[in-house]
Symmetry: C2
Subunit: 400 residues, 2 copies
């Protein structure tokens, strides 16, 4: 297996550190728009890793780099606005493809808060038969959420339930960053994108539909000492992926943003600072959202100042295999102190990065295989969960 | 009198419309970085008005334009970051000078929320003896606040009180803008500057000192139907100007921001979006505060969608001329409907712009005269208040 990792940001750099301890691949080319950043990511990890410069907005450049290094698998670890050129570039070069976020949505033009428009991943699913016909695999949404959360959904359906009422992905943390009034622990660009787009919900009797942002707030109790966090509906890939392979009456995603973060996002929206449409400032033309991102500290650099744990998981309700009502939260917690000590990467990016590395290893060893555009829930969940535990990062389950 | 008006934004354009109805001056050159904006401001107001292009950050350019047009008085109507080059340029060209905001402050390096650093106007007052020696006048802070509010303070001291406990400038409005979630009615750049800098307070037994932003909230009842508005301490020129000429035990400025605006400003600060230090975005270098301003609608263009009234005034407490305790609010209210109908300019910029035009007329007719760097409270208040009423915009007084 010869891997092209696109993006040497927080998640990409953590993926390098995780992959460096595994032997399943032959080489990993780490490409970034900023070559120096790619070089920093590979430094000290041995000669299987090669740094390269790449403009991820160009499918031709992605394909050329794939051909140059005889790449078999492309792992996309950049902002989701670059999904399509990397996806297309991998296909053009005959490589398999993995990502952690899918092609972007566009709201319904007249009823954005009740109807879906272009959905997350629609552009990729439209190419599924072409990928299948070419015998190639695009494994989409294989970070932690989407990713591990989808594996949990499939595991619940396979092993724990005979009938599922709701699959509700629930994400929460108690992370704090010393010395900053406000410092998101994950890409603010992506957080704005997913939180300010109309949240999407799936219901068996209605299909996909949307609501206004921050709808249906609930306080969810997270395990391992994190405790209660206010969660709201957010647009997320799981809601688009899970119903394609797993039977449930309802699928939701709620993000434990907390009140302060919700207030910040609402204010950015109120002021138009969430927009990706450029404004003129002096002689320059800049997107306000990019300025917001540039004004905040890079979350990948904050690990030393972070404290606490982050939890990703899937809450499933329905009828258990014994025929009685059952409620289960399947989850994965990473303690920042552990991830910094073990890998030198902060908890949120480490938790995202470990999953595509596990998936690549399963694809390399034949534990997982497939063609077309597939989500993580299209594959058997047990080999994935076992190998994740083998990476030293076990998952948990709570009956509720 | 030959006037150079620097800045054809909201306040400058309103000043042109107001001055056009008065005969006291010979010519007014209206200069802006954007010549087309200057041309729009003078269009239709007769041949006493001339548009010009000017880079207000260059004292040499200001002086050259003054000499070219034999300017006797420079009226500065741009953001306060340009105060010093315009002030210096006017002096170099031998012209008198008026502004509506003074040279900027810099917080105390180690105790910003208890001690003053460089105060508003310090750089200008440092040049006062040079201006006096040259026989020239710099009349600083002659908008509405500072400006009319300072005239009210002097009027209270001259006519209404024998001893003053507190002079508290209080500014509030009930303006709304149809069709916008959030649309400030005044320059957001300036609003951020004055609201996020440490508020300054003057006490006779302590001198000037500072507090954290948004301190000492109080609900102040504004007249003419505006009603109660939450006000907080804000850095403002009156606190620096009034104690130099008017005896009082305490001088404060509180701005009726309202809870929503306070929340927005706190969020901008928390995210670093209030800063004027450039950040790199793609190939460009931009100041986040400029991006915030560029993302919001230009307040000068919102008059047609605005509704309500704005009130500026000075609340004075102490011992009245009859020896008994007295509390008086001296105020000036502008109804947006009136200012739009009469002048085609929205209430906030009109209310700011009328005062320097009144002052220029008093200087032209000899009603006011002086040399050095002076505030509005250095001059007799009655001629000013009478002429303001003569402009069709009377002031009011409430005993409380």
């Amino acid at each position: 297996m010869r891997i092209l990792l696109v993006g040497a940001g927080g998640v990409g750099s953590a993926a390098v550190a995780i992959a460096a301890r595994r032997s399943f691949f032959e080489t990993m080319v780490v490409a970034d728009y900023d070559l120096a950043r790619a070089e920093r990511a590979v430094a000290g990890h041995g000669d299987r890793f090669v740094a390269a410069r790449l403009d991820a907005s160009s499918a031709e450049a992605v394909a050329a780099l794939c051909r140059e290094h005889r790449i078999t698998h492309v792992l996309n670890a950049v902002d989701p606005r670059f999904v399509m050129p990397i996806f297309d570039g991998a296909f053009a070069a005959g490589a398999d493809y993995l990502d952690m976020a899918m092609s972007l949505s566009r709201p319904h033009p007249s009823a954005p808060y009740t109807e879906t428009g272009v959905k997350l991943g629609d552009e990729q699913f439209a190419a599924s038969s072409a990928w299948a016909a070419a015998g190639r695999l695009a494994l989409c949404g294989i970070g932690v959420e989407p990713g591990l959360s989808d594996v949990f959904a499939r595991y619940a359906a396979d092993e724990l339930f005979t009938e599922i009422d709701e699959i509700g992905v629930r994400d929460g943390a108690n992370l704090t960053v010393d010395g900053y009034d406000f410092a998101p622990s994950f890409s603010i660009w992506t957080t704005i994108e997913e939180c300010l787009n109309p949240p999407v919900i799936w219901a068996a009797d209605r299909g996909w539909y949307t609501t206004p942002p921050f709808s249906e707030p609930e306080v969810f109790e997270f395990p391992e000492g994190i405790g209660p966090v206010e969660c709201v509906n957010v647009e997320h890939e799981e809601v688009l992926l899970i119903p394609r392979w797993v039977k449930a009456k309802r699928v939701t995603f709620k993000y434990g943003l907390g009140e302060e973060f919700i207030e910040v996002l609402k204010t950015l929206h109120k002021l138009g600072l969430d927009t990706t449409s450029p404004v003129r400032v002096g002689g320059a033309s800049v997107a306000p959202r990019d300025v917001v991102a540039a004004s905040l500290p890079d979350p990948a650099t904050l690990g030393d100042r972070m404290r606490g744990k982050t939890c990703a998981g899937t809450y499933v309700t329905g009828t258990g295999t014994d025929g009685r009502p059952r409620k289960v939260y399947l989850y994965h917690v990473v303690d920042n102190e552990w991830s910094m000590r073990e890998y030198g990467h902060q908890a949120v990016v480490w938790q995202t990065a470990v999953n595509p590395v596990v998936a690549l290893e399963l694809l390399a060893t034949g534990g997982w295989s497939g063609t077309g555009v597939l989500g993580p829930e299209a594959f058997p969940p047990v080999p994935f969960l076992d190998l994740l535990t083998g990476y030293g990062s076990p998952w948990g389950m709570e009956e509720r």
